[in-house]
Subunit: 432 residues, 2 copies
């Protein structure tokens, strides 16, 4: 068997189906011949999801990139898996509609379903799990199923839709999805607000969440991240306080936005804000938000040759967020690691972006494992939005226990373990 | 075996466990002895969910009725299955919090998870599926699992939480749930608005939904229902137009509510509204909304001796709602059936409440089957919120196809079919 165990995507034979029926044909052949299958759409995931660890073939969805139907009045859209969310939103904007989940640039619907992704919009709009009405899926033996129909609500049997979302290509290949859409808010605004300490910023977030204010996004960047951003924009760019900073996005009717901004400015001041910059027009709004978008690139800009980057993705109950962030910062400093913190603070989810050299690799990995352990002590999760893939399989067992992972194993849609086998959990005990 | 096949709840031995561990012990014994099990909490479901069609025992959760923890800052609460949603909300109100799903009075968390219920709040807040963070579940063999931890977001493996929601007691017994909470809106209001035709009312709903206005609830009552309500309140009560009527609930910050009411009044007028009554104070607000709450009892008040009542629960994409309601009304009239229509119009979900005599039974059942067929033709569902139980098993096969139902059957958490066997789908082909 060793010749079929190819560990990289580049070595793998690619298949380019153009329809659900073609995917079904491919999977029937693979099922009969026992050929492992890994799906591939945008290729932006961070946890090795599309690495074909069992060899076999990769089903590349690039030919299935069509928007099949837009139902304006029903606020839904039917798409193929290789539709990119940004492109979709460009098209929908002319009808005043959008699809809220906003993961990394380049991500496509197939992979977004696979990882159950989210992004900065999750505080207001929820995650991928909240925006899928139904899925057409090809099972391991080639059977085509559609998980449900198109009404907004249904109690018709088991929630197969949610079973496939976040299943990382292990239960079936998604060939079509009906996605819910939201209307673009009539009015939007952005504010950027800095604090003396991360705890003050996190306290401000807690007071916004506790007040039930439905901001469009609440993002937290630490002082290191702000420093890297100032470095990244260079001499010509706008410099910001190198202090823990909240990026706040508002959306709604014009009066509601004005009212929210006022309330939030007061809450920020009460929590000890040092500054509260508020976008006066669309251009300023875009400029302010672009700093948030640049965070990863800014941190990567301080990398030296040969350095690598690791990202964590823990989420904790919101009350524990200040502790979790403070401990992560202190630990990172104690280890002498270069890195920053970017958080979807409204969800209790944050990323540490750690830059490390080859000599620091063990330290960086140890740091990430400790982050997960601390999150679990706080009743949190090892992954808020990136998924499990290969890297967090042991963490999931720690998080949920052997019996819960065993229950996942019992969802035996793929008893031959042909579909992205050994992702999320190991199909057998031991080191795979 | 015939002596163990008891068909009614009254004949069934009841077991009253007081903890997750006791439920586990009971299920271990039942597993070893092959004794069928049906769970029971509030007993308000409409589709025969707690009818022990295979005999065995009923696990009555009435002793597990505690709120175990309220995490104010995290906006979540940990509860046992026999907590009643109304009682929970009474307790939470003092902290300015609430749990949004609002099914029939008396429903309890266990059954609400089982059916994946919703209610009038679903347009704004979503259904039960959107408000559960994690579940502790005892599987058929007595294994205790917890589906996830307590952060707001997690991508840690398969979504077992969503698998159990709506599984109608067939995959495991829920013994504990962590529920998300919302903050009570600072300001609320209610408006009642009548129209010349059901289509005008439905068009108004479509324009509210299409505008992306986040009203707290959008309910539609037909002219028959309004007539029964006038009859129900008697001489002393406030009479309303016996015309298709929208009941609208608003919630948010004070300015946002005022703004929304203004916008909606304009949209209603554009759609042809005959009246737009707006609550001036809390008392009027409660009075206006109480008519919506009385709908079922009002329709039942026109029952003659021996009459029975049947309720349908279809949901369709919102663009098809006017057609679906008009066709249902015309069909009901053509058959000479007495009945009314009450809709969670913002979700495209509506109920027909049909009153029938013994002689009309076949007609009433035929009417409900036709309703389902028409909903399916419109890409809708046979059940928006009540679940499948016994009555809609054939409809689910029509709706989703044999292969999708077969996929549900493969979720083999209970291979012996001891847990509420033959609900949702028949465990074997044929008439069970």
């Amino acid at each position: 068997m060793s010749q079929t165990w190819k560990k990289t995507y580049n070595d793998t034979p690619l298949v380019y189906p153009a329809s659900t029926e073609e995917v079904s044909k491919v999977l029937k052949i693979c099922h009969a011949k026992r050929i492992p299958i890994t799906g591939y759409s945008g290729g932006t995931s961070l946890e090795g999801h599309y690495t074909p660890t069992h060899g076999g073939i990769s089903v590349n969805f690039s030919r299935m990139d069509k928007v099949l139907a837009v139902h304006h009045q029903d606020l839904d859209v039917v798409v193929q898996p290789a539709v990119q969310w940004q492109k979709l939103n460009e098209d929908l904007a002319k009808d005043n509609l959008f699809f809220p989940p906003d993961p990394g640039p380049g991500a496509m619907i197939g992979g977004m379903v696979g990882t159950g992704c989210s992004g900065t919009n999750a505080y207001r709009y929820g995650t991928m799990r909240d925006w899928v009405l139904n899925l057409t899926v090809v099972l391991a033996d080639g059977t085509i199923i559609k998980t449900r129909r198109r009404p907004r609500k249904s109690s018709a049997g088991y929630n197969l839709t949610q079973l496939f979302i976040g299943s990382e290509g292990t239960l079936g290949l998604v060939t079509e999805a009906t996605l819910k859409l939201a209307t673009l808010p009539e009015s939007t605004s952005v504010a950027v607000c800095s604090f003396g300490t991360v705890r003050q910023a996190a306290d401000c977030v807690a007071s916004i969440v506790g007040r039930g204010l439905q901001l469009a996004a609440i993002e937290l960047l630490d002082d290191n991240q702000m420093e890297y951003l100032n470095h990244f924009v260079g001499e010509s760019g706008v410099k910001r306080n190198e202090a823990p900073t909240l990026f706040l996005k508002f959306g709604g009717t014009p009066d509601a936005v004005k009212e929210q901004v006022k309330i939030v400015e007061k809450l920020a001041s009460k929590a000890g804000s040092l500054s509260f910059d508020f976008a006066g027009d669309k251009k300023q709004e875009a400029d302010l938000w672009s700093s948030r978008r640049d965070a990863l690139w800014a941190t990567m800009s301080v990398m030296k040759e040969g350095d690598k980057v690791l990202t964590s993705d823990v989420a904790v109950p919101i009350s524990r967020l200040p502790d979790a962030i403070e401990q992560a910062k202190a630990h990172m400093m104690a280890l002498g690691l270069v890195g920053s913190i970017v958080g979807h603070a409204g969800d209790g989810n944050f990323h540490t972006i750690v830059v490390y050299s080859d000599e620091q690799r063990a330290q960086a990995e140890d740091f990430l494992h400790t982050m997960v352990d601390r999150a679990l002590e706080m009743e949190g999760t090892c992954t808020g939005e990136h998924g499990v893939g290969l890297g967090k399989r042991d963490a999931v067992v720690k998080e949920l226990g052997e019996d819960t992972v065993a229950a996942m194993r019992r969802l035996a849609f793929d008893p031959l373990c042909l579909l992205n086998c050994d992702k999320i959990f190991k199909s057998q005990k031991g080191d795979i």
